[in-house]
């Protein structure tokens, strides 16, 4: 099918929040439980409009906190509903306790996360602190590079999460303000055709008084570790479903989705690894560097959890030096979060590429071509292992 098939999809201009709201609407969600927080707010406003104008037949639960948002989402999901929620930074931190429970209770909730820095000082702009902070909670995580991907990934996340072999919630990350508030052109589906790709949810073991079950029991030392091992296997094996759904959606939409996007990596001597919207900036810089004869490539992750480690080992082996770009940092640890994971991933290789941890863009600090140039210069210096771009001092 052609991407210009105007019967099935139309080209519109939306910001990331609006696009995500349309994706939730097009997924025909049954329940949305959410609490407003910048930069996610437009999502809940738009979904409220859809519900209050009768354009979306769903229950919008205007909860009194993010903790209750996710709690209500878990309840609704157990009852068999297709459930959406959305938040950012502090709100995700307030949900933290329930994130673990939602995944362990196998509730296939989809959450959009408008990535935002953690307080203090309070800041409403983009960092990936929030996404990283919940990487161990058992949720699948995807990163959108642009508004189109945010829209598409929400639709795909429902299909992946609700697959009976997965039954695990998903987070779709989109950079705060850079994507949540920037209007970009994108294709959205004519709702009539969504069912082809995303039929209604077929719940597994939903609440049913005729077949009563106990959800969320106490499991002690005799069963707890076994149950955790089972969940670990589920998330690990979810990769097969993710690849299958990505392929299916790629064929259906004409837009190609893969766990990892590589650019100019075939003969790359130097590589950058990045998450989110910065991939676009870096790709244009790779073009510029290639024009200057520099053998630079780019790796950006659409899939963050489960971490695509085998692919990364294959893609990054043989590269001389890698700049791992973290829009976050850690205190007193061996490098920021993505850096640590790339380092661990590559450790089993016989020959290790040199690694540079590039800390950039915290709290929305601008990242432009000149910053990418600076990153490149640091990557050429074997004596530098970590750099805070713009605040090197």
């Amino acid at each position: 099918m052609s991407v210009t098939d105007t019967e099935r999809m139309k080209r519109v201009g939306l910001n990331g929040d609006e696009a995500v709201a349309y994706a939730a609407k097009h997924a025909n969600v049954d329940v949305v439980a959410a609490y407003p927080i910048t930069p996610q707010t437009i999502m809940v406003e738009k979904i409220s409009e859809f519900v209050y104008n009768g354009e979306l037949d769903a229950e919008f639960i205007a909860v009194e906190s993010e903790h209750s948002a996710l709690s209500a989402a878990v309840g609704a999901s157990l009852a068999g509903a297709r459930v959406f929620t959305a938040t950012a930074s502090q709100g995700l931190a307030l949900m933290y306790e329930i994130l673990y429970i939602a995944s362990a209770m196998r509730t296939p909730i989809v959450m959009a996360l408008g990535n935002r820095a953690f307080s203090a000082p309070i800041n409403i702009h983009c960092s990936h602190d929030d996404a990283y902070a919940v990487r161990d909670t058992g949720w699948l995580q995807f990163f959108a590079e642009n508004v189109q991907e945010a829209y598409d990934l929400v639709l795909m996340a429902f299909k992946i999460s609700e697959s009976p072999e997965v039954l695990t919630p998903s987070i779709v990350n989109l950079d705060g303000f850079i994507l949540t508030h920037c209007i970009e052109p994108l294709y959205i589906w004519n709702e009539r055709y969504i069912q082809e790709f995303l039929p209604d949810r077929k719940p597994v073991e939903a609440i049913d008084y005729r077949n009563p079950k106990t959800y969320g029991p106490l499991a002690l030392m005799d069963y707890y570790m076994l149950i955790k091992r089972q969940q670990y296997e589920v998330v690990r094996r979810a990769r097969a479903t993710i690849d299958r759904v990505f392929d299916e959606y790629s064929r259906w939409s004409g837009r190609r989705y893969r766990a990892i996007k590589t650019y100019m990596m075939d003969d790359a001597e130097y590589a950058f690894v990045v998450l989110g919207s910065t991939a676009g900036t870096m790709r244009s810089m790779v073009d510029k560097w290639r024009g200057m004869g520099r053998k630079v490539g780019l790796v950006s992750l659409t899939l963050y959890r489960p971490f695509p480690e085998d692919d990364l080992r294959r893609i990054l082996s043989g590269v001389e030096a890698i700049g791992v770009m973290d829009r976050s940092h850690t205190y007193g640890g061996p490098g920021a979060q993505l850096y640590q994971e790339i380092a661990s991933t590559l450790y089993s290789l016989d020959e290790h590429p040199r690694l540079l941890n590039i800390i950039y863009g915290l709290g929305g600090k601008d990242f432009g071509p000149e910053d990418a140039e600076a990153a490149y210069k640091y990557l050429m210096r074997p004596d530098v292992r970590e750099v805070w771009l713009g605040v090197e001092g």
Binding site: A33, E64, S71, I207, P212, L218
Partner: protein
């Protein structure tokens, strides 16, 4: 006021069905199972329960066993009302969109899970007007973790975090008035329950079926372990709580108060206090003022309730 349909007169009229079965690990003399058995008999199918973390949850669902023959959900400590909100909303949406059945959703929390850590989720659920029943089983402290004081612990009671010390003799603060907080939300129906008055309890639970929106019950739940009392005395203590005005039995329908068990000649509060070790230190001469204060407060509260019934 709505007519009292299906009202029972004796406990013999309570149906002999059991959806909360033996094998649970709740203590001898615990007040909770009495509540649960009555709730499950009075609230018809289809129903689903949400249970906050606490004694009832840990004692009834030790994997791979369960005492529940109804759908039962536990998520966390502070969010039973929020989880119940989600279930209720989901069944409402699914009924509308796919012809599913609407469920009677019942949320259960202890005093810690309701007065303290769960009050925000409860307030949110009541304000949003979800069609559900919330029941607080109040044993007046965090019993599951070993008797720590809560917002529901009464003045002077000894707990492990408000011990009967030589300087501070038990909890220095008053019990929070949970019913007032709930009623202030404008809920259709709220009532107090007590296991020594099963007919009153059962009729109030039946009445919940008549209202659309949030229904709330505040249940007096004797805890022999946490109150340093005899297991054989639970019902007697519960009865004394009503007879001494510590636990007035009343209901509020759309703001209209009605005392359901009238106490014409209240017994002195000492008769209640002396049944429980948590109040033993109050009988020292230097702590007499606390008993007097408790006595004054229960009388004032009763008089206030009587005035409210006349509004």
């Amino acid at each position: 006021m709505l007519p009292d349909v299906n009202k029972i007169r004796t406990i013999k009229e309570i149906p002999n069905i059991d959806l909360f079965v033996s094998g649970h690990r709740l203590c001898a003399g615990c007040g909770i199972p009495i509540l649960i058995k009555n709730v499950l008999r009075a609230i018809p199918d289809p129903k689903a329960l949400v249970n906050a973390t606490g004694c009832l949850e840990v004692a009834s669902t030790i994997y791979p066993y369960t005492s529940w023959k109804v759908p039962w959900v536990h998520v966390a400590f502070e969010n039973a009302a929020a989880v119940a909100s989600g279930i209720e909303a989901a069944f409402r949406a699914l009924e509308r969109k796919k012809g599913g059945q609407k469920y009677n959703v019942i949320a259960l929390g202890g005093d810690g899970g309701t007065f303290d850590i769960g009050i925000q989720a409860l307030s949110g659920a009541l304000e949003r007007g979800h069609d559900l029943i919330y029941i607080c089983y109040d044993n007046e402290a965090y019993m599951n973790t070993g008797i720590q004081r809560s917002g529901g612990t009464p003045l002077g009671a000894a707990t492990t975090t408000s011990p009967a010390g030589s300087v501070i003799p038990g909890k220095p603060e008053y019990k929070k008035s949970l019913m007032d907080i709930v009623v202030a939300h404008g809920v259709p129906y709220a009532a107090t329950l007590n296991p020594a008055y099963p007919v009153d309890m059962y009729n109030k639970l039946l009445k919940a079926n008549e209202f659309e929106g949030p229904k709330f019950f505040h249940y007096y739940s004797p805890c022999p372990v946490g109150w340093w009392a005899s297991e054989s005395m639970s019902i007697e203590i519960a009865r004394l709580a009503v007879q001494t005005l510590v636990w007035p039995l009343y209901e509020v329908e759309y703001g209209k108060y009605r005392i359901t068990v009238n106490i014409r000649n209240p017994k002195p509060i000492e008769e209640y206090l002396k049944t429980q070790g948590r109040f033993r230190h109050l009988f020292k001469p230097e702590n007499r003022w606390i008993i007097d204060e408790l006595q004054r407060r229960v009388r004032e509260n009763w008089e206030r309730l009587e005035k409210l019934t006349k509004l």
